[in-house]
Amino acid sequence: WDEPLVFELTQPGERGILPPLAEPQVTALVGDPAAALPDGIRRATPPALPEISQNRVLRHYLRLSQETLGADLNVDVGQGTCTMKYSPKVNDVLIRRIAELHPARDPATVQGVLAIIHGLQGMLAEVSGMDAVTVQPGAGSAAIWTNVAMIRAYHASRGEADQRDEIITTIFSHPSNAACAATAGYKVVTLYPDADGYPDIDALKAAVSERTAALLITNPEDTGIFNPRIAEFVDIVHSVGGLASYDQANANGILGITRAREAGFDLCHFNLHKTFSTPHACGGPAAGACGVTAELAPFLPGPLVTFDGVRYDLTDPGPLSIGKVRPYQGVAGNIVRAYSWIMALGAEGLREVAEIAVLNNNYLLTEMLKIRGVSAPYADGRRRIEQVRYSWEQLHADTGVHSEDLGLRAADFGVHYWTSHHPYVVAEPATLEPTESYSRTDLDEYIGVMREVAREAYESPDTVRTAPHNSTVHRNREDTLDDPGTWAVTWRAYRRKIADAR
């Protein structure tokens, strides 16, 4: 499709939908209060929204949807760290049942949805081994923030708020660990991998002190390498009075295998849109869950969804609570989806998820390494858990083609990967995470594309460098995006700065 911008579709007078009008008797009694607003408060100029008939609006967005490579449409193993798994369609249907439910309804009238929230909390407590769980955070990073806020509140409750001003994380943990800590006012200490790819335990020992508020760490990290000394890491932090918070974004390969509790963590979080299958939705709505030990439970955001054996209720968490992190009880649609997904699998199924995700990953690893120009840095010859951060450094050295070019070229074949792994500790990175959702045939297809794209890089590098060739659009001239004089975040800005300026 060569679909215009929505503003270019306007035809003055067209209507996409009509809203109800006030009834004559209503108007007779109250007039038109909007028209009676005082100057300066009454809108003087209608918003310059486009005017488009319903059919054309629909066609516009349907075409844009077709120009989007959803996970449902491709073998989506290239968005490693994101755990792109199959999001069962039945769960999308189930949530229609809560579409019109106001979140501030009296608990007596929403026992069904509260039962599901409570049920999910319980299941995640078991999966993590933690004592209490909230599903209020809006997504994974919001859950990290929530954990940081609880860490802060915990230390404050012990009078150590000022003393403990450092948070330690690792370079292969999600950037939000570092960023949330900084936002909460912490100084961030970042650990880098040692030669084996494990976070450097000596660096940790050097970093901890009475200033340490917490360690925020992923395991396995985004390299797919599981840190076997994780309990030691936790102990080291505990030994100086810090807390340990487990970023479980990469939990998919270890469900039922190992848990936050066994490693001694105080807090953890899950991304329901990763491990528990809720759809990624172009970047949310997602949902996050935080699990904590009993000691940290008083700091949970409220209200808590509780059950007294007869009825579900919303309970005030008490004075130590950090308060609200999000309106209401969280992203209820995704909570229902995640609950349904677990209920479709059970304990045995979750373990199968983990094992097959890991099997798929190691299959992919084995086959990928047969391709010229690619490597899997660190832990040479060892198995990985659920993903691998590959490096095309050799291929780049040989051909000058960047990893990003390869990813864009792969899109011409209907698959893709992303390279947003700043800073590039692994050079020319590509992170592949096959999850349990793809068959061997699917993986072979993906590997085939990688092989072909790498071959092209060696044999006809310009083909790769100028990709994409089959997309709707061609390569951006990126420089305008960082220049305040030319960036154009809205149509009105574009018109003012670019179009009208011509």
Partner: protein, 432 residues
């Protein structure tokens, strides 16, 4: 498992075995060699018995949800009952949009365009040039907006310019902790005045422009949280000088979904000082190597924690992009006339409800003379819990309890004259 699960293709025992051979492993345990025994869970997870079939799953979850009770609802207070056009659901239900994620601007051109168009449509409604890819919700948008004001001004105090919902205030309080504090005075330490428009009680504060001017006079910014649904009839905050405008787009095409439909927006002028303080992604229109072709990409990516980790502005992650696309669809459908009409309808019906309820003995309206949008405070002669319970027994969820005797009642375009009259008659009955 002795058979394959529909969600796990390679759980076919023969395939699983063949793949193990192919990678030279005896057993999946090999892959877990790095996990020490003392970290292993040596028993199955204790989870409820799963549903074998989709049919049973639907029945199980449906059975739970059957325990929710329906009624005629006048609940608002941050999450509003509006009609969701079917086209909005059609678009956000498209498999492509529902399951896309972090693709590049090429194979995901449609997603980038749809989100940039959302920004642009909101920009027209707000009369501002910069709008973010949605953040989680209006609470987060407010909290971040205030911290943006703190960074821009280098000041650390925030002055509230009217009633704010306790929950939102709780979130803001937590989010500012250590960085900013509240104040009662407008002075040289004040980073911003924060006001809601309409406010938490549904009142359209006609003094809002005055407050904004006062903030500016003190060298502070004005941060205005507004209900975008009102802006077909209300002057945009930008029109009277607001510097940062934020709020929640849930009213623009999102089902309430027990709170799952919230998504936050933040908007500013196209001023580099403001733009560089956004934590969120901002998509921009960009030329491509083909003349005349529109592409899309990230504006000033190195502001973000995706780009520079803890050096970024606050943090960014997966938030609520699909609701942004949906709000874009909503605004495309409504157009300027639709937004004006719906605003007028809501104000008229709200006023009608106020007239009817205000005429009931035992009911008073604290702000009866102010213009209201979509909700208003009702004060009962008897304790509010008692009244609301009695109405709930009649199948009416009449409002949100505020405190002792007061409730917040919400009326939108979905409430017909007859609905409002039924509410009034029921309140009269309960109070009689």
């Amino acid at each position: 498992m002795d058979h394959a699960h529909p969600y796990i293709p390679n759980s076919v025992p023969e395939v699983r075995a063949a793949m193990l051979v192919s990678v030279g492993a005896v057993d999946v345990e090999e892959f877990y060699a790095d996990i020490p025994a003392d970290l292993r869970l040596h028993r199955p997870l204790l989870l409820p018995e799963p549903m074998r079939s989709e049919a049973e799953l639907v029945r199980h979850v449906g059975g739970l949800l059957d325990r929710n009770v329906d009624g005629l609802s006048f609940l608002g207070g941050g999450c509003y009952p509006h009609h969701v056009p079917a086209v909005c659901d059609e678009v956000n239900g498209r498999a492509e949009f529902l399951t896309a994620y972090a693709g590049e601007p090429y194979e995901d051109h449609g997603r980038f365009q749809a989100l940039w168009e959302y920004q642009s449509l909101m920009g027209e409604l707000l009369e501002l040039d910069v709008v973010n890819v949605p953040t989680y919700d209006g609470y987060q948008a407010a909290a971040t907006s205030i911290r943006m004001a703190g960074r821009v001004t280098g000041r650390s105090k925030v002055l509230l310019g009217g009633p704010v919902s306790p929950d939102k205030l709780s979130k803001i309080t937590d989010y500012l902790r250590g960085a900013m504090t509240f104040t009662d005075a407008l002075d040289e330490d004040t980073a911003c005045v924060f006001l809601e428009y309409p406010n938490h009680h549904g009142v359209i504060d006609v003094e809002a422009p005055t407050l904004v001017a006062a903030a500016h006079a003190a060298g502070a910014l004005a941060v205005v949280s507004c209900n975008p649904m009102a802006l077909g009839v209300l002057a945009s905050p930008a029109s009277f000088g607001a510097d940062i405008v934020c709020g929640d787009i849930q009213p623009l095409g999102m089902h309430m979904q027990y709170g799952g439909g919230q998504a936050g927006f933040i908007a500013t002028r196209d001023d580099e000082r403001l733009v560089m303080e956004f934590p969120s992604r901002l998509f921009g229109l960009v030329p491509t190597v083909v003349d005349g072709e529109y592409g899309f990409g990230d504006v000033a990516y190195d502001r973000t924690s995706f780009g520079v980790r803890e050096e970024g502005k606050e943090w960014v992650g997966t938030a609520a992009a699909l609701w942004g696309i949906t709000a874009g669809v909503y605004l495309s459908l409504m157009g300027p006339t639709g937004m004006r009409e719906i605003g007028s309808t809501i104000m008229a019906r709200t006023a009608y409800a106020m007239r009817l309820l205000g005429a009931i003995p035992g009911v008073t309206l604290p702000n009866a003379d102010d213009p209201h949008f979509c909700e208003f405070v009702v004060e009962f002669v008897r304790p509010v819990g008692e009244i609301l319970d009695a109405l709930r027994d009649r199948g009416i969820f009449a409002g949100l309890p505020l405190d002792g005797h007061r409730a917040l009642v919400c009326v939108t375009e979905v409430h017909t004259q007859a609905d409002i009259e039924l509410l009034a008659a029921s309140v009269r009955e309960v109070l009689a």
